[in-house]
């Protein structure tokens, strides 16, 4: 799969972005745009990463920037059910524990 599909959903005051496909140098701009928009509009943003098939450094950069923005604005950003490959990519930064993660919506 070379295309990243991003579905947006509202769940009360939470905004959920569901990703399906690779987050790499070809697709990260779309995620960047939608994630920034969601963070500007909602106080709690959840990124469902269960169906992410690849997370490159460009994608990690988008998540890092979004996390910084969320913390500065005192908002919440949580990565939901990150796929194994996403987890590995985040762990490769050495700062995986800094990304708030959850295994189910009920935890949040």
């Amino acid at each position: 799969m070379t295309q990243l599909d991003i579905f947006e959903k509202e769940d009360g005051d939470r905004r959920i972005l569901i990703l399906a496909g690779p987050v790499n140098s070809y697709t990260y701009t779309d995620l960047q745009e939608k994630l920034m928009k969601a963070l500007a509009q909602a106080a709690f943003v959840i990124v469902d990463m269960e169906k992410v098939t690849n997370l490159s450094s460009a994608g990690i950069g988008v998540l890092m920037a979004a996390l910084d923005d969320a913390q500065e604005a005192q908002k919440r950003l949580v990565l939901l059910r990150p796929s194994e490959i996403s987890k590995l990519a985040l762990e490769s930064t050495g700062f995986a524990e800094r990304f708030p993660m959850a295994e189910s919506l009920r935890e949040l």
Partner: protein, 711 residues
Amino acid sequence: MGLSALAFVAAVGMVVVILLTLRRGLATTAIRYELALDLVLLFVTVSQAMVILLYLDVQHPAAYLFWARAVNASIALSEFLLVAFALYFPRRIHRRVRFAALFLLPVAAYALSVILGSADYLREARFGGAGFALTPGAWFDWMNLATAGMGMAAAVIHLVRGMATDDSINRQRSFLAFLGVLVGVGGLVFMQGYGMAHSQETWPSLAIPFVALVTSVMISYAISISRLFDWRELLKTLFAYLVIAVVIGVPTGAIVALLVILGAGSPLVPIVGSFFLFIAANRLGRNFKARFFERLGARLEYREMLESALAHIDLSQGRDAVLADLNALLTDNLGFSDFTILIEDDHAVLKTTWSSANGHANMDRSDLVRNFIERTNVNVLMLSEAQADAAYEGIQKELLALFGSLKAEVLIFAREGRRIIGVFAIGARKIGGEYTDYDYETFKAICAKLFVFAFYLKNVARESIFYTVDRELALSDQVIRFALEHVASVEHPRADAAWAMRSTRSLGGDFVDFVKMGKERWFFVLGDISGKGLSASMNMLILKSMVRTFLRIEKDFAGLVQRVNAFIKDHLPKGSFFAGVFGYFDFERGILYFINCGVPAILLYSPSFDAFIEVQGEGKVLGFVRDISPYLKPRKISLSPGTALVVCTDGLLDSENIRGERFGKERLRKSSRDRLQESAKAIADGVLEDLLRYTENRQEDDITLLVMKIK
């Protein structure tokens, strides 16, 4: 005794001023006169302290008379020195005026001889009863008035020069000198007069050293400043401290007073209570100040916005559009009128590339100003510094001519190492205001970002490029090619080193760099800056340049990595991070020191085990957290003969074959092991061949590989 001690405190202050003056260097006549003035005032200060000390302990009328005359003569000498200083500060006055002023020399000599040796000035100095009494001669008042008149003349000269000058910095410096002289001369005249009228009081004797100190500090400060005051910042600071004093200081004082009352005569309660109270008040004050400044600064400060906007200019839109964007952005934020850019051409001549003001300059490699600046670490130079800083005295004429020809008030230099590859000349502000310290700090902050534009204009934005179909790819290719062409190779009899890099059409930020640190020591950095496309390539280049810059100024290995981390966090676009490794090869001791910052594999071949072992340990990428120091783990490994080192970025390990299987560490191990008897270059090339065979020539990410064999 207490008064004497206070006078000695003033003397210590004078000594500090003198040491600071000496440290700055005696580059100009004005500074030399300042030093002479400081020494004379130090003598006055120490003499006053001694007079007070002796007055309290012994009675020697002859000695007191000598001291009194010596102090008054020194005060008179200082007045003449103030006139001499005024003739040379901020710049030397016209030769005719200085020549005419020479008539003061015999006048000064005569005045000093009268003060020191004639009973017409001072007949007797007595220290009896409750105080200090002088018996003046007939010329005492006249002589004091005349010498004070000299000092006042110096003040007037500063005032007139301040009003007459066109440049703001020297106006500010002249006014400061005027104030310093006014305080000094006025204070001394008042103290001398008051002391005579109230001979039973000793505080005028104490006040004289402090007046001398204030004068000395103000004049020294007037000389040392080369940038305009940021009045806004000054007022803001004063206001913040005033609020802190009222909100925190007063209640703290009240509680301390309460503790004294509650202590009922016991010092323990107020002492212990005050100790903790002051710690708490200090912490509270700091927090309060930080928040207060944030709020005050929110509306007025533009630095962050400008930095962010500069980082978002799209370089792939072409030279003219980039220049237009850059000009518009800087003009909007700084409100200046003229803007000129000089860029180094193929013949190493800095030439006008773009100007909104017809500013022109050509600076070849032999240009005096260029040579001078390249020998320093200066990245931002304000016109006021060229006008006022003694460091530029020798080259002031040429510098001012350059500022003039570029119609500039600020020059920002873009450097590769020491070499200047671009100059951004920023003109005067349109509406009155001057560039302040805050602007200066902003210019320093955007320096690295302007380097990107200088690099882009010098190496990338060539006319031929605009005809390519895919402009971004072509531009980025140029950047990467430039980076590859400028890597020094390791040449050491004990080492055989080689590296291989293969970038993809998606364009990334992989880089490798070696720097020779000495006969036996080499520094290296290898890694990947996140992101893709032209901006990632440019970030890679900036980072490479900054690492070389930090290497010059940072001696501590971990400190270097911390600086790189801070640079990425503060200056590269949000979300940028660097995954790589920094290392030092010490061939003399056969040791490699390294800090892994997120590189996935550092394999060491050990002849004793006849196998490659992983030594990379844990690594944290740079640019994610502000303070990386707790995460840095410097490591050390021995490089005995026969060892080999293989380091690579994630692109190599993560490359997949058609079935989606990663190349991985095992294949890297095997590929390297199979070629161990060959040269480092053969190993590096061979691993790449194996990889491309495995992926059937598909490549999704940049690949960088370093191989080092120890002989």
